[in-house]
């Protein structure tokens, strides 16, 4: 199985990287840009007997290591193959 994990700064937490990117986009002339947040994209492969078990494992991995629950949110997708 292959998992794609997205980790982003939690809403309400200052994201200076996102703000800097938003500023750069505006100075490039992309005036309609609103909130920009910069996070992390992680792919990982894992062996699991079912998609449900893979999802449970990935959730644990996110909670224990990939994201810091104090400041970050995560989402993920699991695909067979």
């Amino acid at each position: 199985m292959r998992a794609k994990v997205y980790v982003t700064p939690r809403k309400g937490i200052l994201d200076p990287q996102g703000r800097a990117v938003a500023g750069a986009l505006k100075s490039l002339g992309f005036g309609a840009i609103g909130d920009v947040r910069v996070g992390r994209f992680i792919t990982l492969e894992l062996d699991a007997p079912s998609r449900a078990e893979a999802e449970a494992t990935v959730r644990q991995i996110c909670e224990r290591l990939l994201a810091n629950p104090n400041i970050e949110d995560f989402t993920f997708e699991v695909d067979a193959g």
Partner: protein
Amino acid sequence: MKWGVVRFPGSLDDGDALWALRDVLGQEAFPLWHKDETLGGAECVVLPGGFSYGDYLRCGAIARFSPIMKSVARFAADGGLVLGICNGFQILCEAHLLPGALTRNRSLAFICDFVNLRVENAATPFTRAARAGAVLRMPIKHGEGCYVAPEDELRQLEERGQILLRYIDENGEATDAANPNGSMRSIAGVANERFNVFGLMPHPEHAVEATLGGIAGRKIFESIAGVAR
């Protein structure tokens, strides 16, 4: 007093911490390796500054799972004194031994400078050699020192006196301009609820000799050493 200074791969300031403790302050101090499972009889464990594990993923996120951290967590749970400086502070937050987290400086720049700090609570093992309200001048050098915590957590930290140090200006005010990294409520250092674990972004070990810019950092080490005497 016996001090153990933990060396993680990527630690930088372990040597300076040992120098400050042994050569300047006459303490008994020894290095501990991150793969050690015991603390060698240390009465205070120091997690030094640096870039443990290259700051991969998040600062302190990988170091937190080093074998020695299990012993450090047990030691802290038994009331042992733990001091985290800079990267050590980040590791303690990642390990949930301290509340909150340290994020990218709001300027996005790595900052290397002297800051003025006000002692907010002098009735702790880490600050008792100073007076409440005393100003300590110490260096900072970090890219991820912006302290954040949920609003209700911050309120509790204030109420319990867990905020030990704040960034202030030359007039003693915790102004936005004097806040180098955007830390919430100008927090430079916090303790846990039991006041036996303390983390701070400034470097007391770099502020122990007058020729190197000041000796205010001694107050932190002298506070701790005094407790065990």
